[in-house]
Structure formats: structure tokens, C-alpha cells
């Protein structure tokens, strides 16, 4: 590895860390303004430039929050397991940040800086050409479970413990639908590289949300659950568990947990856009090839970030539109709805894909035909789920229950 390549990586890492942390801070402000808008309040709009009366829509709020968090007391309660207690926020933040190494922020930037040894054109991803990117994301997002369990266990608090238990069960339950949703995309694109998945959508012009609607639904629901956003925020539901696994945390350690959570949401938005919404591709605007001019390259970056922004807005709107699930409904949704739907999607996508290769369907009507078949399967699955009603279970305490009526499993 040459020095120039190393410096390129370092510059990318610094830009990425700065950009992502700033983005997370300002998305917090956006979320608070949005919450205020939904609830007919004004929201944080007063912090501007210090010592002046200029307010600029509260854009100084994230900076003020950061300073406040740093100046707070760094407090460790007496009853905790000290090493684990400090380790948990570090683990969860490092895992949440490292995921961004394989996420492309655009395609390429065709500029010649005149430096020898620099790869050219510059690829807008920290670790370019990572052909197991999907596995890297899976592995690192699974480490988040360790952070949650470490935090909940080390806190030695009943709220934390319950939050960590629920959280671990939820995260591992929704990892299966997440994997099934991605597997359908991998079968169709034939690669685990996120850049290759985007270019597969760009060259065919059919985004995977159009080609695999069922897989998209399964993946989006699982991504919401993995990011622990409402309606899946059971790990830390304030009304029942105070703060869940971070009840005993305060000051900068709490900040690390909160930032990591926001980063999970941003990662989920990036994955939804890259896997199902065509990444940087937009019809008639960005082109599809590997060779791009400067204007097109910038357009691709803007299209990708615009899509990610819209998906994050969707996350925030859904937070204020849906009530939280009960825990048994959450588990039923994961195991009895999403997992079978994911399997159905995988099998149908694989069979249709195999038929296309076996019968050599290359005509102009073959793609729309196969996609129509996928939409039919999606509709059918929806109707079956609607009639079976697996989420409706009578959970009220039943006084007239006889002893032999109790499930032998319980």
C-alpha cells in the first residue's frame, strides 16, 4: 500500500467521521422540529449565535447540546460492573460508525489531483471494492446487540435488565427477516458488493422495490426493528422501562448511546436506499455506466443523499404516526409474519430468476412479466396474512381458565 493510498483512506475516514457525526446531530434537531410540527408546538428555535440576538431557526441547538453533554457529570453508580459499564457505549458506537466503511456515498468522482499512486477516479466509499460488504454490515450490526446486553447487564438495574432482555430478543428475531430480504436482492443481483447491487439496478432500470415488493416490505420492517425506532422501540420505551438498557447512564456515555441509535437509523436508511431504491440511480438523470463526467458524478451523490434524506423523513413521520407494539405482537410479527413472508419472497424470486435463465427470456416484455408475477405473489401473501390474522391474540387474563386448559409448555 502506497503512502498516497494511505493518505486517501485517512482523508476519507476524517471526512466520514466528521460528516456523519454532524449529520447525526442535525438530524436530532430535525427530528425535534418535526415532533414539534406534528404535535402543533414550535420546537427548539432559540439557540443561534451566542452573545447576539440572531437565532437562525435554532441551528445552534446541536452544538449547545454537545457542550452541555460534555460539561455534565461523568457519573458511575456504585452498584455497576465498572469495566462493562464503560465498555458498552464504546462498543456500540464503534460498531455503529464502522458500518459506514462499506457504504457508498455516490459512485465515483472523476477528478485528477495529479498525485502519483492515487487510485483514479476516486471512489466515494472508504473501503472500495469490498466484495463481502453485506457480510461486513451484518457482522457489525450484530455487535450492537453486545453493546445493548453489556449495558443492561452491567447496570445491575431492573429496568436496564428487562430492557436488555427485550432488546436482545427483538434484535435477533428481526435479524432473520433482514437477512431474508437481503438474500432476495443478492440472488437477483448476484453479488454481495453494495456498489455492484446499485449498478445492477441502474443497468436494468428496475429498482428492486419494483421487482421485489414483498422483499422490500420485509426488509423495511426489519430495518425499523433493528434500528429500534417506533413502532419497535420496546428496548427503551420511556413509559414502561424509563430508559431501558441505558437507564443508569448519564452525561457523555448516554450521548454515545443516543448517537449510536441515530447512526443505526441513518445506516438503515442508506441500506433501504441502496438495496431497494436504486442507490444513486434515477431514470434519465444519472446514467448507468461506470464512466461518468463530473456533473453526473455530483448528480449521483445528490440523488443518493436526497433519497436517504426522504427515507429518514419517513422514519421520523412514522415515529409520530404509529403506536408501539406489545411484546407478544412484536414477536408474532417477526416469527409468524415476516419470516414466512421472507421465505416466500426468497423462493419466488429465486424460481423466477432461474426460469429467466433457463428459458433465456431476453425480450422487452420478460422483465415486466416476471415483475408482475412478483407483485401477484406479494398481493396473495398480503391477503393470506390478512385472513389468517396472526397478530391478533387474546391476552386478557382469563379467570375461568381451568387448570388443564393451561398450555403444557408454560
Amino acid at each position: 500500500m502506497t503512502t498516497a493510498a494511505l493518505i486517501e483512506i485517512l482523508v476519507k475516514v476524517i471526512l466520514l467521521l466528521g460528516g456523519v457525526m454532524t449529520a447525526a446531530a442535525y438530524f436530532v434537531l430535525l427530528e425535534r422540529r418535526m415532533a414539534a410540527w406534528v404535535q402543533d408546538r414550535v420546537g427548539p428555535n432559540r439557540v443561534g449565535i451566542p452573545l447576539t440576538r440572531i437565532r437562525i431557526f435554532g441551528l445552534g441547538q446541536p452544538l449547545a447540546d454537545g457542550v452541555k453533554f460534555i460539561m455534565k457529570e461523568e457519573y458511575t453508580p456504585a452498584h455497576v460492573d465498572k469495566r462493562m459499564y464503560v465498555l458498552a457505549p464504546i462498543v456500540i458506537l464503534v460498531a455503529a460508525l464502522t458500518v459506514f466503511a462499506v457504504i457508498p456515498f455516490g459512485s465515483v468522482l472523476p477528478v485528477d489531483l495529479g498525485i502519483e499512486g492515487l487510485s483514479e477516479p476516486i471512489r466515494l466509499v472508504v473501503a472500495p471494492g469490498m466484495d463481502v460488504a453485506v457480510f461486513v454490515i451484518f457482522g457489525l450490526s450484530s455487535i450492537a446487540v453486545y453493546g445493548v446486553i453489556l449495558g443492561g447487564w452491567a447496570s445491575n438495574n431492573k429496568y436496564s435488565f428487562l430492557g436488555a432482555l427485550r432488546s436482545s430478543a427483538q434484535l435477533i428475531a428481526y435479524e432473520l427477516p433482514l437477512g431474508l430480504g437481503i438474500l432476495g436482492v443478492v440472488v437477483a443481483a448476484g453479488s454481495l458488493d453494495l456498489e455492484a447491487i446499485i449498478s445492477a439496478q441502474a443497468t436494468s432500470g428496475w429498482w428492486f422495490i419494483l421487482a421485489q415488493p414483498l422483499g422490500c416490505v420485509v426488509f423495511v420492517v426489519a430495518a425499523f426493528a433493528e434500528a429500534a425506532r417506533l413502532p419497535f422501540d420496546l428496548p427503551e420505551c420511556e413509559q414502561e422501562l424509563i430508559g431501558g438498557y441505558h437507564t443508569e447512564y448519564s452525561g457523555i456515555k448516554l450521548l454515545l448511546f443516543l448517537v449510536a441509535e441515530f447512526l443505526h437509523m441513518i445506516t438503515a436508511a442508506f441500506l433501504i436506499v441502496i438495496l431497494f431504491l436504486g442507490g444513486w440511480h434515477f431514470w434519465g438523470l444519472t446514467g448507468a455506466g461506470e464512466q461518468v463526467g463530473l456533473v453526473q458524478a455530483v448528480l449521483r451523490v445528490m440523488v443518493l443523499s436526497g433519497k436517504v434524506f426522504l427515507v429518514i423523513l419517513l422514519f421520523m413521520l412514522i415515529r409520530w404516526s404509529w403506536p408501539r407494539f406489545r411484546f407478544d405482537q412484536l414477536m408474532a410479527l417477526a416469527w409468524k409474519v415476516m419470516l414466512p413472508l421472507g421465505l416466500v419472497n426468497l423462493v419466488s424470486v429465486a424460481i423466477l430468476d432461474q426460469l429467466r435463465t433457463a428459458w433465456q427470456l431476453d425480450a422487452w416484455w420478460s422483465n415486466p412479466l416476471l415483475i408482475a408475477a412478483n407483485w401477484g405473489i406479494c398481493l396473495l401473501a398480503w391477503i393470506v396474512v390478512a385472513y389468517a390474522q396472526p397478530l391478533i391474540a387474546d391476552n386478557r387474563p382469563q379467570q375461568e381458565l381451568e387448570l388443564y386448559d393451561v398450555d403444557p409448555q408454560v
Binding site: 483512506i9 475516514v13 476524517i14 466520514l16 453533554f69 460534555i70 460539561m71 455534565k72 457529570e73 461523568e74 457519573y75 452498584h79 464503560v86 457505549p89 464504546i90 458506537l93 464503534v94 460508525l97 464502522t98 459506514f100 466503511a101 472508504v126 473501503a127 472500495p128 469490498m130 457480510f135 461486513v136 447487564w153 447496570s155 445491575n156 438495574n157 429496568y159 436496564s160 435488565f161 436482545s168 430478543a169 435477533i172 435479524e175 432473520l176 438474500l183 443478492v186 454481495l192 424509563i242 443508569e248 452525561g251 457523555i252 454515545l256 414477536m331 408474532a332 416469527w335 409468524k336 419470516l339 414466512p340 421465505l343 426468497l346 429465486a350 432461474q354 391476552n395 398450555d407 409448555q409
Partner: protein, 135 residues
Amino acid sequence: MEPGLIPILILAAASLALAVGMLALGSLLGPRRFGRVKQMPYESGMDPIHDARRRFDVRFHLVAIVFLVFDVELLFLYPWAVANKDPQGLPRIAEQVGQGGGFSGGLVFAEVLFFVALLAMGFVYAWRKGVFRWR
């Protein structure tokens, strides 16, 4: 070591430095005050009765086992998903074995479908056993 991994390791090291640096900054700049009540676990103002680390419901354990089974089995499908269409993958093997070898993409696909069917059978078994029932 795989050269593609180096940027990921650098990013991991940088974010570790960021996290540790923020914690250090917080402990340097923040005030410190201690108190006997402040050191108690927070339980909405009640005095805690016992330790938090108690026995919990066995169904969490069942879910963990079922997760392990399905996750590992799903992992086996990824190599097929990548090798299926890659010209260096299954098509090349089929070409090398030739017509008489009895190897084709269709056969592999049938095996994959059989594998998924086995997975679905395990899933139905766990469902019938009541692993997914919470109440």
C-alpha cells in the same frame, strides 16, 4: 491480510479513538459530587429490594436457539446466491464437468429448494411446539 480490510480497520480505530476521547473529555470537564442515595440503583424512587440479576423467562432462551438454527442455515444460502450467476461460479463448473458429469445449474437449484423446504419444516415444527407463543 486482505488489503481491502485495511480501511475498515482504520475507520474502526479512528472511531474507537473518537469514543474514548469523548469519554475522557467528559470526565475531565464535568463536576464530581457523591452522595449515598445518588449511588443507589434508580427504581422510580423506591428502595431496591434485591439484585437485578435474577432468573428470567426460558422463552428468551428458546428464541435464541431458534435464531441460531435459522441464521446459520440462511448463511449457507449466500454462497449459492453469489455463485449462481457469476461466470466464474456455477456456470464455469458446469462447463468443466461437461454434459456427461450430471452437473447443471438446475440440479443445484433443486438442491437449494430442497434445503429451503427442510428449513421451512423446522420452522413449522418450532411453531407447532409453541416456541413463538408469548403471553
